[in-house]
Amino acid sequence: MKRKHLFIILGIPGLALFALFLSLDRAAAELEQPASGAPLTGGVDNETCLACHSVPGMQMTLPSGEILYLTVDRETYNNSVHGKGGYACVQCHTDLTGYPHPSLTAATQRDFTLELYQSCIRCHQDKYDATLDSVHQKALAGGNKEAAVCTDCHGAHNITPPDEPRSRIPKTCEKCHSQIFDLYQDSVHGAALIGEGNPDVPSCIDCHGVHNVSGPSNQPFHLYSPQICARCHSDQELMAKYGISTDVFDTYVSDFHGATVVLFEKTAPDQETNKPVCIDCHGVHDMRKVDDPESRVIKENLLVTCQRCHPDATTNFPNAWLSHYRPSPEHYPTVYYVNLFYQIFIPTILGGMGIFVVLDGSRRLINRRRERRHERNQ
């Protein structure tokens, strides 16, 4: 009887405590991922803000004369990743927990953005750190205020996953790089992604990186770029789907241009070079299929492409490039047979010499041993 009491006295609160810990633990786990480091709400809920800021047409004039729009669309925010996650306005707008709001320090719309995007860092430090190596942050640090910051690509109150659908990625870059986008969307990659939603082709960020966006103004990017192309173009499984050769990188490296570029990349990746990488012949953003009449590397157009660096080149010259083929009796037979000749000639000659050398050497050893025996016998 006493034991039963003991169980009730200790057991029930124990179980309750266990359950409490369990639920706390789960709550902590849920919070941990997105909200670590997120500032507290300060008890100001979104409805407080939206009471004013949902009124259409709310705006104020900045010292620059530009209009700063202050209206936030409730629906848009609630459908954004942060809205769905239940984040509060004041977790980003940390200075706006009371009214009257502190007066603005930004004189222009852009300055306002540049002040406010710092809020992103509080929760997304790793992404921000990655951007520090990017062309955008370098341009910004160099005084170019137009350089993209978080909200220029992701939006502010309307942030949704940037790759849903994946074709949204180039559209995002288009906002600032519209001419490059125009080239890309007609390229073999762009047409497949934007037109067909093909998941295999690269979008902008697959080559340039996501937050640490780099480009030709980062010099190592240029010398490294063939290896970016090779990531997909040496992938047997992926290329088999489209019947594309996976030899392209290896054949490039075994040729003069590629061998030089790869060595440059290893010894001094920062140097400028005029030795061509993939994009110098195939086009930077407008690479085409090899049967596209606009392709720079089809036979009809190849001479013009060669002449960019070899201005004196004539009709026969492009054929000095093996077009990514490994020499075979069908493709570049002269090269194939020269190689075959030396594959037979070298072992034959060396083998013949080897027979003479080995026999001569052996005879000398035998003679020497005989002489010694002879001397000993005397």
Binding site: C52, I67, S178, C309, H310, F317, T334, V357
Partner: protein, 403 residues
């Protein structure tokens, strides 16, 4: 001028009597010098060439890095090639001089006796013959070596020219010949280097250490072993054709001008070889004409609904227009629902009452009215225009009539 101020190279004696042994001159100073210059250029070419042929090998990479990059490796390779070609021009002169002026026997020419000597050697090695074949000044092994170098040099010069001047080559030959030339250049190089290691090193370093390329002389013992026929000729005094100094002098007078022209043409050829074409631009070709930063026109933001413009005939009463103005400009924050700062401008009574900082409207005293105070400071969200502000001020001065 005294005799000593013009030192003349003393020709090395053909036979050197040393205690215990007699030595025979095999290579003169200048021949040795030629060998070593050729050897140096060959070694540098082999080394800098093979690292390019096997550029991705770890060993090649560290060599290339050590030399300061692939451009330097290529530069050194080209310089060594020029040196080798100049040695070839010299060699042709030296051979021509011996053949046409001194009229020595062309001992390097191969013949059927060399084939026989090779077969007899094999038979001797295998124990099928008691003695080695008796060979002359150049053994079949040496002739094989010499003519291999001649063959190799011809191939290397032709294919080297094609790679050095691909644009010129493609004017006359199919473009495919350039990578074929590269294949042959690499194959030939590998063969040459391996042959030197296997054949030459065995014959001059391993089987005996042949000093003749260092000091010029072979001992009588070595001569007997390797060149017994030549030794016999030397001893019989018939190794060289008898020369008539007057005839030699005459031949020299013809030979030197002819060779000077010939050598001049060849050197010009080498110069052309090196400077024939500028294969590629040395500058960075211009990038495509694309504007990197070409922003799309910004998405237009929603235009605010037209504010009730203060009409000139605005009747300056609460009901006549002031209420409507407050409703459109202020009610977002100071409406009955929001009442920020405790201020509610939705009714005349609450407007007069004001908020946390004091009465909103004090009839007759605009400067005491918080609506005017806050708005006059500027920068208020929902800022009234200057005209509107003037009208509200007038309305308050007029006692802020309700209707």
């Amino acid at each position: 001028m005294s005799e000593t101020s013009k030192p003349k190279a003393v020709p090395e004696p053909k036979v050197l009597e040393e205690p215990g042994e007699r030595k025979y001159l095999r290579f003169t100073r200048i021949q040795r010098a030629e060998h070593w210059v050729f050897m140096a250029s060959f070694s540098i070419l082999g080394l800098t060439g093979l690292v390019q042929k096997y550029a991705s090998a770890r060993l090649s990479e560290s060599f290339i890095a050590g030399v300061g990059g692939i451009e330097n490796v290529r530069q050194i390779h080209h310089i060594a090639a020029i040196v080798m070609m100049v040695v070839v021009v010299y060699h042709l002169g030296a051979v021509g001089y011996r053949l046409f002026v001194r009229r020595v026997y062309p001992t390097m020419l191969p013949g059927m006796h060399d084939v026989r000597a090779a077969i007899q050697s094999l038979a001797y090695y295998l124990g099928l013959r008691k003695t080695r074949p008796q060979q002359g000044r150049y053994t079949f092994e040496e002739k094989a070596e010499y003519w291999a170098v001649v063959w190799g040099t011809v191939i290397m010069v032709i294919t080297g020219f094609m790679m050095w001047n691909p644009i010129a080559t493609a004017r006359f030959l199919p473009g495919e010949f350039i990578p074929a030339a590269k294949a042959a250049h690499g194959g030939e190089a590998l063969l040459a280097v391996l042959a030197i290691i296997l054949w030459h090193f065995f014959h001059v370093l391993v089987k005996t250490f042949n000093r003749s390329m260092f000091n010029g002389y072979l001992t009588e013992e070595d001569m007997l072993e390797e060149h017994p026929m030549e030794l016999a000729d030397i001893k019989a005094g018939v190794a060289e054709r008898p020369t008539d100094p007057a005839k030699v002098a005459r031949r020299r007078q013809t030979f030197f001008p002819v060779y000077a022209v010939f050598a001049g043409l060849l050197l010009l050829g080498i110069f052309a070889f090196v400077t024939f074409e500028q294969t590629a631009l040395e500058t960075i070709p211009p990038a495509d004409d694309v504007e990197v930063f070409a922003p799309l026109p910004p998405t237009p933001l929603p235009t605010p609904p037209p504010t009730s413009t203060p009409s000139a005939d605005l009747v300056l009463t609460w009901d006549g227009g002031v209420s409507e103005l407050f409703n459109s400009k202020c009610s977002a924050c100071h409406g009955s629902a929001t009442q920020l700062g405790g201020l509610n401008l939705s009714s005349y009574a609450t407007a007069l009452e004001g908020g946390d900082t004091g009465p909103g409207i004090v009839p007759g005293d605009p400067d005491a009215s918080q609506v005017i105070v806050k708005q006059a400071a500027g920068g208020h969200p929902g800022q009234l225009s200057p005209d509107e502000l003037v009208q509200i001020r007038e309305w308050i001065e007029a006692g802020a009539p309700e209707n």
